[in-house]
């Protein structure tokens, strides 16, 4: 908090608050747009492919989306701050190995069961804490801080891997991916629980609201005597915990601790969040928005395979959808003097 900065900062807030009509419209598109896109996709694929309509497919789609959903819940908190978190891949790698080594496995005699998972989640939290402290205390841009932490996570995972794959034998954890209630695996319910808690925290707790406000106007909070640092760190930590849980879930799916367990989740989750209307600039969207995004991404991935689009083209499609979704949301505001970076 250097006094010098405050003066300059304060000036910004007034222009950050344009008049009502414009925003209301932009807001509407922001919230409803993604849902509309989702509906359209479902209808299109539903018509195009009979398998897509099958109950079976719904199950496998939800199962596939479960892990991504949990990761995205986590990253949403960071995005709300206006920061970014690229550490999911690395953190999940380390956490995946941790789970597989702590619960009953083929490498060692440990069998901590539930506690193994708890420790995993906590470890994720520690990595998140590291992200937060580095970016807040050392003032390293979150982009680099989290990138570095991701590398650290992968390194830690590699050390734990030590050349021999720890296979998962713990019936409880491996059960997540196999035991089904009403057709859905336990993973789906785990994810659902995580989403509900995440939504509650983001919507109704000081942590969530403050994170939102920081994304809106950090300087104002400082002037109003709110110490933003701790909240930022907390948000990163929450994200870390989610990655931890997601890693445990992924491990259960893969049946072994893998360093690659988190591969691809970083960009997938960011994509999902953005598509859902949680903006990178911070202070917009939220857990529910992001979840719509997760569904869009999952439906897209699943549907494209079912209608037989080549896996390479699939990625391109996803990119296209992201651009269109965000472009559509920005359209009503395009004439205004809003700064878009």
């Amino acid at each position: 908090m250097q006094p010098g900065a405050l003066g300059v900062e304060a000036g910004a807030t007034a222009v950050r608050t344009p008049g009502r009509p414009a925003l209301a419209r932009g807001d509407l598109v922001q919230t409803l747009g993604p849902s509309a896109v989702l509906v359209v996709l479902v209808v299109v694929f539903g018509l195009a492919s009979p398998q897509f309509r099958s109950m079976n497919n719904l199950h496998s789609m939800v199962d596939a989306a479960a892990v991504l959903a949990v990761v995205t819940v986590g990253i949403t908190f960071v995005l709300l701050l206006g920061c970014i978190d690229l550490s999911a891949t690395g953190v999940m790698a380390a956490c995946s190995l941790t789970t597989s080594l702590l619960v009953a496995n083929t490498r060692n005699a440990l069998d901590l069961g539930v506690w193994g998972v708890v420790v995993t989640v906590l470890l994720g939290g520690v990595f998140g804490l590291l992200n937060g402290v580095i970016s807040v205390r050392l003032k390293v841009p979150s982009f680099m801080a989290t990138l570095g932490v991701s590398a650290i996570g992968i390194g830690v995972a590699t050390v734990m891997f030590a050349g021999v794959q720890p296979g998962l034998v713990d019936p409880w954890v491996s059960g997540w991916a196999t035991q089904r209630w009403f057709g859905f695996t336990q993973l789906a319910y785990l994810a659902l629980g995580c989403i509900i808690i995440g939504w509650f925290v983001q919507r109704h707790t000081r942590l969530g609201r403050t994170a939102m406000a920081i994304g809106g106007a950090e300087d104002v909070l400082i002037l109003s005597g709110v110490r933003v640092g701790p909240y930022k760190v907390a948000a990163f930590t929450v994200a870390g915990c989610c990655y931890g849980l997601a890693a445990a879930m992924a491990t259960s799916q893969l049946g072994a601790g893998l360093v690659q367990a988190g591969g691809g989740y970083t960009f997938a989750s960011i994509t999902a969040a953005i598509v859902g209307g949680t903006l990178l600039s911070g202070g917009r969207g939220g857990v529910l928005h992001s979840m719509v995004g997760v569904l869009i991404v999952s439906v897209l991935a699943n549907g494209l395979v079912l209608i037989g689009v080549s896996p390479y083209v699939q990625r391109g499609f996803q990119g296209l959808i992201v651009v269109i979704a965000v472009g559509g949301a920005a359209w009503p505001l395009r004439r205004r003097l809003v700064v878009v970076k």
Partner: protein, 509 residues
């Protein structure tokens, strides 16, 4: 009240030096309970530093702060509030994307949050209490950015008033330029509230509008160069006296430089002609501004004058109508086109829209007109230097060098740099001035007025969105009044025959 003699807040010999600057040079003042203290002084006189020290945003080098006789070291805004000192900052300080209620209780949710979990009902009630004080019907649960500017002002005031609940003891409330962005009627509401507040609180009121300071305060401290230049009793002293204390010399009296007025403008050839202009925020506006004429546009916020002003510079949204400068039609699609047509714009949000704080004075001066200093694509640094130095000298911009970054200058000098940007070409035809004197002190204001007159004399057509009605009337040859996006009155205001403010206010509301 017997305890009145005993100060609730006592500042003794407060000192604060930044490298190269002495901001506070031994300031001492005291505030008694239920007292409204005015604080006057030019920019750089140390007012804001003093206030920031009182809320712990600045650590004083020396001196003491005593609250109710107990000497305290204030560690930060929250800590200050704990001691019953609360502050409202100059610019609007609301978080756009959370509810009005949250903004009002921001940082002090109290019963609104239990174990980190929000209790929206309680929160709403807490906020409603504050809004009721000012009889505002703003919905506490509305997201702040969806409110209109005026509504947000109300929320802002409510946020201030919330301070009184934040402390068991009677609070001291610091108001830093609370009126600078308020409209007349809002100012009245605020003053009414201050009067009510003083029943159980003390207030320090800072404003550049000296008449306001004199009106509301029991005592006025005048700061100059980090020292208390004098203490004034509004009952006995007058504004002229304040000026004297602030600037050190008697006020010329001719604040608005009528002497430089370029004479009758009636028969001047129209330079800027707006006909049937309709766009977002304004409808069917037709106004013409003659060469050398200064036209003030009056109107409450939401009257559409800001929108019109931005639209004229290609930064707004125009649906129909035309604008011509010297008969040539202007393309209003982008500021770039406007600049090419010889239109200059001085935005009200200097720090965000007017200047690039991190760049040097020189770069800021030449920003819009690099064409003047380039041969083909190449910059001629020597030409740039001479041109910049010429304008620094011409406008008396106080800066150590043209390579100093503009962010380090005082507000007045920053504003002069922004104006200079449009003058370097010697070919600006139309100047759009949006609150050109906002946040400037008397001296700086006077210089800006002088500049406006001089430019008018050279034939520049000026559109002025004045900071105050007085300013508008005094500076303009005509005052156009806008209401709800339309021009509702066009009142001539030639030198010597100025209309009375009331006539204009009547049209405004």
């Amino acid at each position: 009240m017997t305890d009145d003699s005993f100060p609730v807040l006592e500042v003794t010999d407060l000192r604060k030096a930044y490298p190269g600057v002495i901001a506070l040079d031994g300031v001492s003042l005291s505030v008694r309970p239920h007292e409204v203290i005015g604080l006057a002084g030019e920019n750089g006189a140390g007012k804001s530093t003093l206030l920031k020290a009182l809320v712990g945003l600045v650590r004083p080098d020396a001196g003491t702060i005593a609250v109710r006789g107990r000497q305290v070291r204030i560690k930060g805004v929250a800590d200050a509030a704990g001691h019953g000192i609360g502050m409202v900052f100059q610019e609007q300080s609301l978080v756009p994307n959370i509810t009005a209620a949250e903004n009002i209780v921001l940082g002090f949710e109290g019963a609104g949050v239990r174990r980190g979990i929000y209790r929206w009902k309680t929160l709403r009630q807490l906020a409603q209490v504050q809004l009721d004080k000012i009889g505002s019907r703003v919905d506490p649960m509305a997201r702040t950015e969806t409110l209109t500017f005026a509504e947000r002002q109300m929320v802002e005031i409510a946020k201030v008033l919330a301070i009184e609940e934040r402390t068991s003891t009677e609070p001291v409330i610091l108001l830093d330029e609370p009126t600078s962005v308020l409209e007349p009627e809002e100012v009245e509401t605020l003053f009414a509230q201050i009067q009510r507040l003083r029943e159980h609180a003390s207030v320090i009121f800072v404003s550049h509008r000296l008449e306001e300071v004199m009106r509301i305060s029991d005592r006025v401290y005048v700061l100059r160069g980090g020292r208390v230049a004098g203490e004034v009793d509004p009952a006995t002293a007058d504004i002229a006296h304040l000026h004297e204390l602030m600037i050190g010399t008697a006020d010329s009296g001719n604040h608005y430089h009528d002497d430089l007025h370029s004479g009758a403008v009636a028969e001047r050839t129209p330079r800027l002609v707006i006909s049937g202009l309709t766009g977002e925020g304004f409808k069917d506006v037709s106004v013409s501004v003659g060469a050398g004429e200064i036209v003030g546009v009056a109107g409450v916020t939401g009257s559409g004058r800001e929108a019109l002003c931005r639209a004229l510079f290609g930064a707004g949204i125009v649906t129909s109508g035309t604008v011509t400068v010297d008969g040539h039609r202007i393309d209003l699609s982008s500021p770039r086109a406007a600049v090419a047509a010889g239109i200059g714009y001085v935005p009200s949000e200097r720090k965000v829209e007017g200047m690039v704080a991190a760049l040097s004075v020189g770069r800021n001066v030449m920003l819009a007109r690099t064409d003047l200093i380039t041969h083909g694509p190449l910059i001629d640094r020597r030409r740039e230097a001479s041109l910049v130095d010429f304008w620094i000298e011409r406008l008396h911009i106080r800066t150590p060098s043209r390579s100093t970054s503009i962010g380090q200058l005082s507000g007045g000098n920053q504003q002069k740099v922004v104006v200079a940007r449009w003058l370097v070409g010697d070919d600006v035809k139309v100047l759009l001035l949006d609150h050109p004197t906002r946040g400037l002190d008397v001296g700086a204001k006077s210089e800006v007025y002088r500049l406006m007159r001089t430019l008018a004399a050279t034939g520049v057509a000026t559109v002025l969105l004045a900071d105050s009605l007085d300013e508008s009337i005094a500076m303009s040859d005509r005052v156009v009044v806008m209401y709800d996006g339309r021009v509702v009155a066009d009142i001539p205001a030639p030198p010597g025959a100025k209309p009375a403010p009331v006539d204009i206010v009547r049209e405004m509301v």
